[in-house]
């Protein structure tokens, strides 16, 4: 049975096609532009194409992410917390703590060994604690996104950002540039500042190893290093963890579909 997980995020829409709840057939993403529904449909099309399937082969579709209710063709929607936790435990079965840094919000989640959410703490009010902070720095420092991490990792003396506001930090960072602080030091300071904010969420929930990072910053070595240094713990990283929520929703979709397909089992066993 083939299920699809669609993570309709504020920055990027991610999609996963899964066979029998555990075999990944396709993974892809596209920046969310215009209506999230349209982006979601495009992602589904690419997934089907990538897996050499027909649209009708997808038997169950589960959405997650901020626009999960805005996708009419869904069979199910699950919260991004539930989906990320399930996806992270799938990738790293030892996961008990998940750090999810999205473009507009970030969360720390503690989970059971089955991927059930136990506790969480979320920031969705302030860009300084979200991926948007990095996006903006990339723009005004004119360093393309893919180069940010490599540049930051060259830092010798990271210049911490004292401002806790993404907008006020801009002024501070531009002043640092004007004062001749090397770019790598400035960039690493930005990652460390985001790591500090994230660590506050992690502490609130309670850090229990293993810790797994999910979301768009899994590709950023600088973010991982900043987070490991700040939280003083090892962090599991896998490029597929960018898709953790989409993966988790495909898994949860599969589980739901199976229960629906066998409605008499529970009745029979109850009777027996």
């Amino acid at each position: 049975m083939i299920t699809c997980g669609l993570d309709l995020g504020s920055g990027i829409t991610k999609g996963v096609l899964l066979e029998d709840g555990h075999r990944v057939l396709a993974m892809t993403n596209a920046p969310t532009r215009g209506a999230p529904t349209e982006t979601g449909r495009r992602v589904l099309e690419s997934l089907v194409e990538e897996a050499n399937l027909l649209p009708g082969d997808v038997q169950y579709l589960c959405t997650t992410g901020f626009a999960r209710y805005a996708y009419p063709e869904r069979d199910l929607q699950v919260s991004d917390l539930t989906a990320s936790a399930r996806g992270a435990v799938f990738l790293f079965p030892g996961t008990r703590h998940i750090v999810d840094i999205g473009s507009q919000s970030s969360r720390a989640i503690s989970t059971s060994d089955t991927g059930r959410v136990l506790r969480f703490k979320m920031n969705e009010k302030c860009a300084a604690g979200a991926g948007r902070f990095i996006d903006r720095c990339s723009k005004y420092l004119q360093v393309p996104q893919p180069e940010l991490s490599a540049k930051a990792l060259q830092a010798e003396r990271p210049k911490m950002v004292s401002s806790v506001c993404a907008v006020l930090a801009e002024t501070e960072i531009i002043n640092n540039v004007a004062e001749g602080v090397p770019l790598p030091d400035i960039l690493m300071g930005v990652f460390l500042s985001l790591a500090n904010r994230t660590h506050a969420l992690m502490r609130y929930v309670g850090v229990v190893p293993e810790v797994t990072l999910v979301g768009g910053l899994v590709h950023s070595g600088a973010m991982v290093r900043a987070l490991e240094e700040t939280a003083k713990t090892h962090i599991n990283v896998d490029p597929r963890a960018h898709y953790a929520a989409a993966l988790g929703s495909a898994i949860l979709g599969h589980a739901r579909r199976q229960r629906l397909a066998a409605p008499t089992t529970t009745a029979a066993s109850a009777a027996g």
Partner: protein, 262 residues
Amino acid sequence: MTIVAGIDIGSTTAKCVLLDGTSVVGRSLHPVGVELVKDAEQALEKALEAAHLTREEVAFVTGTGYGRFKVSFGQLVVTEIGCHAKGAHFLFPETRLVLDIGGQDTKAIRINGKGEVVDFAMNDKCAAGTGRFLDVCAGALGFDVAELGPAALQARHPVKVTSTCTVFAESEVTSYLSRGKEPRDIVAGLHESIVSRSMSLLQRVGIEPQLTFTGGVSRNEGMVRTLVRRTQLPVNVSPLSQYIGAIGAALFGTERVAGRSA
């Protein structure tokens, strides 16, 4: 005649006021750059030029504002909180509450009948609720900051800006525009958001008439109207409202000079 200067180096603009007794004889205002020491000097020079005075005629220089320590040639440094209190009291003697919304921070200051600070609350940690919030959102609307006030006065159905964070509010503005909302209605929503943030600061120190509104954002008529409606108080706004910190600074200088000669 004793001329004193007050120089207010804010996060966005530098202001200088030259005071002769109780009359403002010269003033200047310009946007600050990176080198604040130069901005301070330039502020004084421009004010002197406007007043047809020379540097030698200035008996005392007081610095205030976020960059007050960059007024390196001054004889005194006073916090902007003290200066706004003193300046507001000077222009409106019945002032008991000052709201100063600057380029990068917002302060609510409660003062006594002598213009002394009794209590204050401030936000300098987050751009929301400050002039910076308006700057960023005006950019998203393609407006000049000066156009915001007049636009808001034309609003019919103000939108509700739900994001607190400036960065997210900027995206919200873009999304309202793409949904066909009128810019003037969006601007009114932005003003409402800033005033909501100010209200919590004002409530922390206690709302009490008269209220005097100072700082760059007080030039915005839409903001003044919103503040009047929300506080249900008349709001004093001087044409010199952006210079109130500098006036307060200059007044501290006048006192020092008087004390010295006494």
